[in-house]
Symmetry: C2
Subunit: 468 residues, 2 copies
């Protein structure tokens, strides 16, 4: 346990310095253990496990583009993302792990206690066993605070999901090297630091119940009005039945209104994309590319491996607009359809896009409310940090996460496909799979773990240097 965050930083830097990692770009047709299928161009692991890169055709009446094809990562197996919680002197602490992922900015980020694909924990690659896994696979090892199959990036993954779990235990938990206990307040501070708390941690933390926060909050610092209304002692702990019925009805209507049809394609049949041994990419320079990397690490289950990895072309923006309505902060949420969305729509933040994609012929499709987010006065920005998405599948995939409080003049009537909801409603829906998308869950975690509107403390040198 750390009394001060500076102690955590010392631990983190020490951990970084003690290990070596190397990520080198390589050709897609020379990835050890992987093959480009001659017939289809699809990229698969020789074992048939892990994931593959293939093509997808999409048709939908929801959104500006009616039909398209694209490369996508197909990873049908679900893994476990689990965080252990234990109270010390009444204060819940979260067991976090310093973990390397090849695509991470800073290479090592804070990940959940357990972050393992099924192939990982069933040891398909014959690596080391996954520590603490038994807390999440054996029933009755602790109290379940959250356990739900959650979707991940719908533009890049087809039907991917992971089991997100938070288990509170009371017994002794040995702290292995590379692991540490952090409080909610400490995690909240670290969430303000760019590229430190990884996506898997953020999506799991989004499931931490508001009731737990309100019941165990330490009264040792100022809490801003917005965050106090969301997790403070007077916070709304659960939506009313009536509110919940109205929200579910809106969600059902959105789902019934739109159509989403997908069909698998050989990667070679995807139109508008180019495929070379170096990369699969879009000639417009938009969207993303798929490249290959060779990875050497000391602290992973296996010491070295190769893999394809997706590289977004631009930094994204993920933001909730927040407005006080009826004395309570409401988030402006959107019913959103993406290529990989399992069931037509999921609830998304107000804005979720890469603004640089909306140039030239796509300028007319510039998303609603994007200008409200990017043009907000600094005094209205309640949260503003850059985070990386899953470093195991995405290379330097950064999004700027923002929470922007709009003023009373902002229109109460939302645009089509949008609705105002409270944080308690969002948290309630996130207990069920395929309701709240990963971007919205990320922002929810920031809302639940944050008490103050302050700029993030930058990481001390030499952190921030990325291996080549």
């Amino acid at each position: 346990m750390f009394q001060r965050l500076s102690e955590f930083y010392d631990w983190y830097v020490e951990h970084l310095a003690a290990h070596s990692y190397e990520v080198t770009r390589t050709r897609l047709d020379r990835l050890a253990g992987w093959a480009v299928e001659p017939d289809t161009g699809n990229i698969r692991h020789d074992s048939g496990k892990f994931f593959s890169v293939q093509g997808l055709g999409v048709r939908t009446d929801h959104g500006p583009v009616e039909q398209w094809t694209q490369p996508i990562i197909d990873q049908p197996e679900s893994g476990i993302l689990g965080i252990l919680v234990k109270r010390f002197h009444g204060t819940p602490h979260f067991l976090m792990q310093a973990k390397m992922e090849p695509g991470n900015i800073n290479i090592v980020q804070l990940s959940p206690t357990v972050q393992a694909t099924r192939s990982n924990y069933r040891r398909v690659h014959r690596g080391r066993s996954t520590p603490y896994l038994e807390y999440f696979t054996e029933r009755g090892r602790g109290r379940v605070l959250s356990d739900v199959l959650q979707s991940e990036q719908g533009s890049w993954f087809l039907h991917k999901r992971n089991r997100n779990m938070i288990i509170e235990v009371t017994g002794d938990v040995p702290v292995l090297p590379g692991f540490c206990w952090l409080t909610r307040e400490q995690l909240g501070e670290l969430l303000r630091v760019d590229n430190l708390v990884n996506m898997d941690s953020r999506t799991v933390l989004a499931g931490y119940p508001i009731t737990e926060i309100a019941d165990t909050r330490r009264d040792d610092g100022p809490v801003d009005e917005l965050f106090a209304a969301i997790t403070g002692p007077t916070a709304e702990r659960a939506p009313t039945r009536r509110e919940s019925a109205a929200l579910l009805s809106w969600f059902t209507e959105m789902k019934a209104r739109y159509e989403l049809v997908r069909w698998p394609l050989p990667l070679s049949a995807v139109t508008g994309w180019t495929s070379t041994p170096e990369e699969i990419s879009h000639p417009s320079g938009r969207f993303f590319a798929v490249i290959g990397v060779d990875v050497k690490a000391e602290t992973r289950e296996v010491g070295s491996w190769s893999q394809p990895i997706l590289v977004p072309r631009h930094r994204g923006v993920v933001a909730f607009l927040v407005k006080w309505i009826g004395g309570r902060p409401h988030l402006l949420a959107r019913a959103h359809t993406q290529a990989g969305t399992q069931d037509v729509i999921e609830l998304a933040p107000t804005v979720q896009c890469s603004p640089d994609n909306y140039t030239g012929s796509l300028a007319e499709h510039r998303p609603a409310y994007l200008d409200d987010v990017l043009g907000a006065e600094p005094s209205r920005v309640r949260f503003d940090s850059v985070h990386s998405e899953e470093g195991g599948r995405f290379y330097h995939a950064e999004n700027r996460y923002l929470i922007v409080e709009v003023d009373g003049d902002f229109a109460d009537e939302p645009a089509a496909d949008f609705t105002w909801i409270t944080a308690a409603q969002l948290a309630d829906l996130a207990r069920f799979g395929n309701y709240v998308n990963v971007e919205a869950r990320n922002l929810l975690a920031c809302l639940l773990f944050t008490d103050r509107t302050v700029a993030g403390t930058p990481l001390p040198a030499p952190v921030g240097t990325t291996a080549h």
Copy 2:
């Protein structure tokens, strides 16, 4: 409104007598408007709308049979099943409709206010418009009590679902011919009558909130202990957060544990089934057949039509075992996987099967707890009625619905894949789609609308005579 049920019966018999219906069996290759595709053997409507009969391959590690192929009804479009509620002198009344469906026992059964596929209400077949539809398609016409996309029979439908809605209104509602207002108590009595309240009504009624029942209950008759604990003034209105977290965790574990893979097949490629112009059937005499019918009706959107329809070979049994645990009745629910289940598992009743299928080579697969249900002492049977499944797709598809209270000696520890849950927990889960299957929702409706353990009043003659 009816003061006594005998008045309802008069109305019902009058409605039956005033209209004529005729259902005649015909060859599958002579169904007007339908074609058997030469390449695949699939049966499709000429418009490409409504539904089709095709083949499906299934592989799963959940259940006794690892892989099989079967015919299945593919109906990707979802419709609306909606019931209007209005309070008269404080008592909620439900607007029900006497509606003919070709597969119904008794031909005419009580259906929801609106029961329409999207093809129906968008008038693909150019029939009459759907009355009362606007209450369900225009927001703000009333208070939403329930609105959820729910699955239907997973053994017979691939991914079929309908939007189940209950809307409470306060303004004037004209009662059209063929429609009537019934109270919860009256519907409860009618649910004890065989083959009268149709499946669409039952699944919608399952969404009626326990809070509404407890708040508006009329204190004018005895309520049995079991039903009082479920919907009476002292009933548990919603599960606790902790109970709900534990149940969701069990559900997630079941979903993560098992695999369900499907692939579409031409009907002609389904193995073990025989296809003739008269019917598609299984030579063992098990499961179901698909036949063709010509239908003439005066009171449907269109006066006559032809269609394929599925005929189950045997009557099924659908039952919950109930046990008092910790002073509250708990239902024994099962995580169940069927060919058409959208997402690996749904919550099913303790037993849901056609016992006659489990003879000969399948005897060893006889479902768990079936003997506890069928062998129960009559004094322990709290509900026992025969109901028809969707008469628009299934011909004389009957299930015996049972609620059986087991005694204190019955093992608390459930078999693998089973869990004890309260009615409040089941109702809470049913607010979300693809959690509670249609058979469990049917029994939930019986639990919510029933006050007394009594035998159903048989329908008066001439009802019970089925058109040929």
